[in-house]
C-alpha cells in the first residue's frame, strides 16, 4: 500500500465498518462478556494458550513485558481508599476487541493487519515486518510481539511438547506481531462445513476456545448479523449498537439501568466486544 494510494483513497481505507455502502453481509462476529458471571479463574487464558500455540516466555521475559497471553484477566481493586477490598476484586477478561475502525490497521506500513469481510481484525504473519506501530496505537494493549524465535532459539516447546501444538494455527517466528483472532481457525472450519452444506453457520456452531472453557458461561460469541443469535439478542437487549460511539441509552437523563457497555467507546473504535457490568448487592 503506497502512501499515495492511501491518501488518494483515504475514505475507502478509513471508515467505521459497517457503513451504508459496505454493510456486513453474512457474518459479523462479536462477543458479549458478562462480568458478573466472570470469576477471574483464568480457564479462558489457558484455553487460549492450548488452542493458539502461545509460547510460555518464563519469568525474566514476563518481567520485561514480553508475555504473549492473547487473553488476559485484568484485576482491579476499588480505588476509594477503603481498608479492605470488601466487595471483592473486579476481573476483566481482555483480548483484542476486534474494533470496526481499528487504530492498529491504519498505521500498519505493510498492510499486515486489516479487516476481514466478516468483521474481524486479522493479522497476516508473513506480511508483518515488525514495526510494532499497531501495538503502539492499540489502546487496549492486546497485541503481542515475538521478540524471540520461541520455537527454536528459546526452545519453549522442548522434546515431546511440540506434539501438543495445534496444526491449524501457525507457530509464529521472531519479529512478527500476533493477537487474538477470535479463533479464526474454528470460524473457518465452521464456515467451510456450512458452505459445503449450502447454509450459513448456525448459532453455537462455532465456539472460541475461551468461551468453550469458561466454567460460568460468561462469554458468548456469535454472528451479530443473525438476529436470532444469542450474542445479537444480548446486544439488542442491552441497546448497544455496533456503529455508535455514544449509545442512545447513555445519553438519557439519569443514565440507564442496562449493563451493556464497550470499553473506551468514546475513541470511536467501535469494538466488537460488549461487556456487561459486574453487579454488587446493595442490601449487604
Amino acid at each position: 500500500m503506497s502512501v499515495t494510494n492511501l491518501l488518494e483513497n483515504w475514505s475507502q481505507f478509513r471508515h467505521g465498518h459497517p457503513v451504508d455502502d459496505k454493510p456486513h453481509e453474512e457474518y459479523k462476529w462479536a462477543m458479549a462478556i458478562d462480568l458478573d458471571a466472570c470469576t477471574g479463574c483464568n480457564a479462558c487464558s489457558v484455553a487460549c494458550y492450548a488452542e493458539n500455540n502461545i509460547p510460555v516466555v518464563g519469568k525474566e521475559k514476563f518481567n520485561a513485558g514480553q508475555q504473549m497471553h492473547w487473553m488476559r484477566i485484568e484485576r482491579y481493586w476499588p480505588e476509594d481508599g477503603r481498608e479492605f477490598a470488601d466487595q471483592g476484586a473486579q476481573f476483566l477478561p481482555m483480548m483484542c476487541q476486534q474494533c470496526e475502525a481499528a487504530p492498529c490497521e491504519t498505521v500498519c506500513p505493510a498492510g499486515a493487519t486489516n479487516h476481514t469481510a466478516d468483521g474481524v481484525n486479522s493479522q497476516i504473519y508473513n506480511r508483518c515486518v515488525g514495526s510494532r506501530y499497531c501495538s503502539a496505537n492499540c489502546p487496549f494493549k492486546v497485541r503481542y510481539f515475538n521478540w524471540y524465535d520461541y520455537p527454536s532459539t528459546d526452545n519453549v516447546w522442548p522434546a515431546e511438547m511440540t506434539q501438543q501444538l495445534n496444526p491449524d494455527v501457525s507457530v509464529r517466528s521472531k519479529g512478527v506481531m500476533e493477537k487474538c483472532t477470535f479463533c479464526v481457525q474454528r470460524m473457518t472450519a465452521a464456515k467451510n462445513t456450512a458452505r459445503n452444506e449450502g447454509r450459513l453457520v448456525r448459532d453455537g456452531e462455532v465456539q472460541t476456545a475461551c468461551q468453550q472453557a469458561c466454567p460460568t458461561n460468561a462469554i458468548s460469541f456469535g454472528n451479530l448479523v443473525d438476529p436470532e443469535s444469542k450474542v445479537a439478542k444480548q446486544w439488542a437487549h442491552q441497546q448497544v449498537e455496533l456503529s455508535k460511539e455514544v449509545q442512545a441509552k447513555d445519553a438519557q437523563e439519569g443514565g440507564t439501568d442496562l449493563r451493556g457497555y464497550r470499553i473506551m467507546e468514546e475513541l470511536r473504535l467501535y469494538p466488537s466486544v460488549m461487556y456487561l457490568e459486574r453487579v454488587r448487592e446493595s442490601a449487604i
Binding site: L35, D36, A37, T39, G40, C41, N42, A43, S45, V46, A47, Y49, A50, E51, V56, V57, G58, K59, F62, N63, H69, R72, R75, Y76, E79, R82, E83, F84, A85, Q87, G88, A89, Q90, L92, V156, A159, E160, M161, Q163, Q164, N166, P167, Q212, A213, P215, T216, N217, A218, Q234, H237, L258, R259, Y261, M264, R278, V279, E281, S282, A283, I284
Partner: protein
C-alpha cells in the same frame, strides 16, 4: 528465464544430486531403512485417524480429584487439547485451567521413562522384570504389618486391585493422604448432616454465606460449583443470588463476593453463633439447644472477638432472614484450627436454624458399588504413617500419587523418618522429592495414556463411574499403567486368581462388562456395551439418593476465646491453596506457572501477602524480600501488599518451592509447607493448616515483583474499563 544455457532441468538435476549426497554422507541409515520401523501409507490409515481432521475421545481428568469428564482432541494420533465432556453432570462441557494443562503433564519432557533402582546417589535404569522381581524378593519374609501403601484419594478398579494386593500381602496399612483435603469439614458434615459430603445446591440458594470455602477456585469440585454459581447469580427472573464470603485471607471466591468480610483468624465459629444470635433478635425462632448456646454471643462480644462490626452482623442476619433458602458453607479457612471441628459445627448450626437442610443441602447420590467408591485422602494418615516409620515398624513402603516429602509439615521430619524404611517403592510420573528418596522408582503412564475408572467424591444427580482411557499411543516405551503394575504385583501373590487377565485393560473390561446389567447395559452384547461406554467416557449409575440425618446439635459445642497474642510470633500464617498449583504436584506444567494468580497477578514465584497496614507498621514495601519465620522453619520471599487480608495474618501460596520435579518447577519460589507447625484439630487429629504463627523480618533486599498488573499498577486511572454497579442501579430481569 534462466540464461547461459543452464535450464530448469539441469538445475533440478544438480539439486537432486546435491540432496542425495547430503543424504548419503550426512545421516546414515534411518530406523526405517534399518527395518526397525515400518512406514505405513496413509492410504490405509489407522482407525479413526483422519489426516487433517480432529477426532474426539472421552476420558477423565486426573489433575485433581473432582472427576471432571474430558474430551481430548486428537489429530494424526496426537492429543492436542483437552475440553470438557458435555455429557458429565459434573462439569457439563467445561474445564478449568488446571484440567487443560493435563496435556502438559502428558507431553512433559521431565517424565520418568524407565524403572530406576537406587545405586548410591544415582538412579540406575533397570528392566521391568528386574524391578518387579526385586519387589517380590524384598517382600519375602516381611510381615504384613511391616508393609504400607501410601496413596492420594483412590477409587475405581485401581482401588480394587490395590486393596486386593494389600490383602494378599496381609497388610492393613493403606494410608490415603491429601495435604489440602477438606477433611475436618467432612467429619463435621458427617456429624451435622449424616454424610461427609452433602450436595450443596448453590443454584437453589438466594444467599450463599461461605466461611472460607473457595468453591470457585480450589475447593472440592470447582468447575461444577462455578456452573452452579452462574445459575445462582442469574437467579430466576432477575432475583440475583447474593454471595457473602467470610475469611481472613481473600480467596478467588472471596474476590467474587458481594460482601467480603475480613475476620480475625480462627473466630469463624464465634461469628456463626453471633449471626444466630442476631437472627434470634430479628425474630427467627430458634431450637432450644441452639438458643441456649447462642445467647452468650451478643453482637458486642462477637464484634470484639471477631473484628466484624455489629452493624455488619445485623445486616447479614437481616439478609439471611429475608431471603430464603440460603446456604452456609464451611471451608478451609474455618477448619484450619485446633478447634476447626467446632468452627465447622457452629457453621452447620446456621444451616439448621435457617432451615436449609433438605432444601439447599441435599443427600448425595449413593454409590451402588462400595468397592469402587472413593477412599478420600486426609492429613492425619501421613502423621500415622510417619509415626510408624519413626518407630522403625515399616520395612517396605509403596507410594503412589502423592509427594509427602514436599507436602508433609516440616515439624514431622518426614524425610528423616522415611530413611528408616529399608525399601521404598515410588510410582512416579516425575522425579519429585519423594521419588528422589526412593529405592525403586516405577515410571507411570501419563493420565492420557492409562486405563482406569474413577468415582468422584462430590457427586451430582446420580453417581457416575468415570472411564479413563488412552487418548493416544504411549510416548515412552518404558512407562506402565498403575493398574498394570498392580496387576503384575498381584500375579506374584495370587497367580491363579488373575491368570485370565493378560493386562489391566482386560481386567477392567471384564469387570465392567460383567456388571453391564447393573450399569444400564442390560440386554446389550458385550462389545456394543463396552464400545458405548468408552465412547461416552462415563457410566451413569442408577440414581438412588441416600437421606440426610439432620442431627446437627449445639450440645457439646465449645468455642475457645480468640487466640491470644503471641509476642514472639505475632502473625497468623494462612497457607493459600491456589486453583492452579494446589498441593504442588502440577508445578512443572508451564501454563500453570505463567498463568497469573488471579488476585495478585504474580507469576513464576511465591510471595508473602500482607495487609498494607501491617506492612506500614513493619516498614515493608512491595517487593521487599522478607524472612518469614515460624517455630518450625523459615523462608525468604517477596512481599506483596494486599487489600484482601486481615492485618493479623500473612499468607503464602502453597505449591511452589520444589527442589526437584522438573525444569519449570525446580527452584521456583519457596515451599510454605516447610513452615507448618504440627498442630492438629482436637476432634479429628487433622493437621490444622492455619495454626502456625510467624514473625516477619526484613532482609534489606528488594526485587521487582514479576506480575501482570498492567502499566497503571492495577488502577483504572479514572477510565471506564471494568465497571461495577449495585443491584439497585440495574434491571436484571429480561436479560438474555
Amino acid at each position: 528465464m534462466i540464461e547461459n544455457g543452464f535450464n530448469r532441468r539441469d538445475f533440478l538435476k544438480v539439486l537432486g544430486w546435491g540432496g542425495a549426497v547430503v543424504a548419503l554422507s550426512g545421516c546414515g541409515n534411518t530406523s526405517v531403512q534399518d527395518g526397525a520401523e515400518i512406514v505405513t501409507s496413509y492410504v490405509e490409515p489407522p482407525e479413526y485417524a483422519l489426516p487433517g481432521i480432529g477426532v474426539y475421545f472421552n476420558s477423565t481428568c486426573a489433575q485433581c480429584d473432582a472427576g471432571c469428564s474430558i474430551t481430548g482432541r486428537v489429530r494424526e494420533g496426537r492429543v492436542l487439547k483437552l475440553e470438557g465432556n458435555a455429557s458429565s453432570a459434573i462439569n457439563r462441557g467445561k474445564l478449568c485451567g488446571l484440567g487443560q494443562a493435563g496435556v502438559q503433564a502428558h507431553y512433559n519432557p521431565d517424565r520418568v521413562r524407565e524403572p530406576l533402582l537406587r545405586n548410591g546417589d544415582k538412579g540406575e535404569a533397570i528392566t521391568w522384570d528386574k524391578a518387579l522381581g526385586l519387589i517380590n524378593e524384598k517382600l519375602n519374609g516381611v510381615k504384613g504389618d511391616e508393609i504400607a501403601f501410601l496413596t492420594g484419594a483412590v477409587s475405581g478398579h485401581v482401588k480394587v486391585l490395590l486393596k486386593n494386593y494389600l490383602e494378599a500381602l496381609g497388610s492393613k496399612n493403606h494410608y490415603a493422604y491429601d495435604a489440602v483435603a477438606p477433611s475436618v469439614v467432612r467429619a463435621a458434615n458427617k456429624k451435622a448432616y449424616g454424610v461427609e459430603m452433602p450436595r450443596l445446591r448453590l443454584d437453589k440458594a438466594q444467599v450463599v454465606v461461605s466461611f472460607g470455602a473457595d468453591f470457585l477456585g480450589a475447593w472440592v469440585s470447582p468447575v461444577h460449583f462455578s456452573q452452579e454459581y452462574a445459575q445462582f447469580r442469574k437467579g430466576s427472573d432477575g432475583a440475583r443470588g447474593v454471595l457473602v464470603q467470610i475469611e481472613s485471607k481473600m480467596t478467588l471466591t472471596g474476590a467474587n463476593a458481594d460482601r467480603w468480610i475480613a475476620i480475625r483468624p480462627g473466630t469463624e465459629g464465634i461469628l456463626a453463633l453471633g449471626v444466630i444470635n442476631a437472627l434470634d433478635a430479628a425474630g427467627l425462632s430458634l431450637p432450644a439447644d441452639v438458643a441456649a448456646v447462642s445467647k452468650a454471643y451478643n453482637a458486642e462480644r462477637v464484634s470484639k472477638d471477631t473484628g466484624v462490626s455489629a452493624e455488619q452482623i445485623s445486616k447479614l442476619a437481616t439478609l439471611l432472614k429475608a431471603r430464603t433458602p440460603s446456604l452456609v458453607i464451611a471451608g478451609g479457612a474455618a477448619e484450619g484450627y485446633k478447634h476447626g471441628s467446632q468452627n465447622a459445627a457452629a457453621i452447620a448450626l446456621l444451616n439448621r436454624v435457617l432451615g436449609n437442610i433438605g432444601k439447599t443441602i441435599e443427600a448425595p447420590a449413593n454409590v451402588p458399588f462400595p468397592q469402587v467408591a472413593v477412599t478420600t485422602g486426609n492429613r492425619s494418615s501421613v502423621q500415622a504413617l510417619n509415626d510408624s516409620m519413626a518407630n522403625g515398624k515399616l520395612k517396605v513402603l509403596f507410594s503412589y500419587g502423592v509427594n509427602p516429602v514436599f507436602t508433609a509439615p516440616a515439624a514431622l521430619k518426614f524425610q528423616d523418618n522415611l530413611k528408616k524404611v529399608s525399601f521404598k517403592v515410588v510410582f512416579a510420573n516425575y522425579l519429585d522429592e519423594t521419588a528422589l528418596a526412593a529405592d525403586l522408582v516405577l515410571p507411570l503412564d501419563s493420565a492420557l495414556e492409562d486405563w482406569g475408572t474413577a468415582v468422584p467424591e462430590y457427586l451430582v444427580e446420580a453417581a457416575q463411574l468415570n472411564i479413563q482411557q488412552p487418548l493416544m499411543e504411549k510416548l515412552h516405551a518404558g512407562t506402565r499403567g498403575t493398574g498394570d503394575i498392580l496387576l503384575a504385583l498381584l500375579k506374584q501373590r495370587r497367580a491363579n486368581e488373575y491368570k485370565d487377565y493378560e493386562d489391566f485393560y482386560s481386567y477392567l473390561r471384564s469387570a465392567v462388562v460383567k456388571n453391564k446389567s447393573a450399569l444400564g447395559g442390560a440386554g446389550a452384547d458385550d462389545d456394543t456395551f463396552w464400545g458405548e461406554t468408552l465412547s461416552e467416557g462415563l457410566v451413569k449409575l442408577p440414581a438412588s439418593n441416600g437421606a440426610l440425618s439432620a442431627k446437627s446439635s449445639a450440645a457439646g459445642l465449645v468455642l475457645p476465646a480468640p487466640a491470644e497474642e503471641d509476642s514472639a510470633y505475632p502473625l497468623h500464617l494462612i497457607p493459600a491453596v491456589t486453583a492452579n498449583l494446589r498441593d504442588g504436584r502440577h508445578a512443572n506444567q508451564p501454563w500453570l506457572q505463567e498463568s497469573p494468580d488471579p488476585l495478585t497477578t504474580i507469576v513464576w514465584d511465591s510471595w508473602v501477602e500482607l495487609h498494607p497496614k501491617t506492612a506500614a507498621k513493619l516498614g515493608i514495601v512491595e517487593g521487599d524480600i522478607v524472612e518469614v519465620t515460624s517455630r518450625s522453619g523459615s523462608v525468604k520471599a517477596q512481599a506483596y501488599l494486599f487489600p484482601g487480608i486481615h492485618p493479623d495474618a500473612v499468607s503464602i501460596p502453597l505449591g511452589n518451592g520444589h527442589t526437584a520435579l522438573g525444569r519449570w518447577a525446580k527452584g521456583v519460589g519457596i515451599n510454605a509447607f516447610s513452615l507448618l507447625d504440627q498442630v492438629v484439630d482436637k476432634d479429628t487429629g487433622e493437621l490444622a493448616l492455619n495454626e502456625t504463627r510467624v514473625k516477619i523480618g526484613k532482609t534489606g533486599k528488594r526485587v521487582m515483583i514479576v506480575k501482570d498488573e498492567g502499566a497503571a499498577g492495577g488502577s483504572q486511572a479514572g477510565k471506564k474499563i471494568a465497571v461495577s454497579a449495585s443491584t439497585d442501579e440495574v434491571e436484571l430481569s429480561g436479560e438474555v
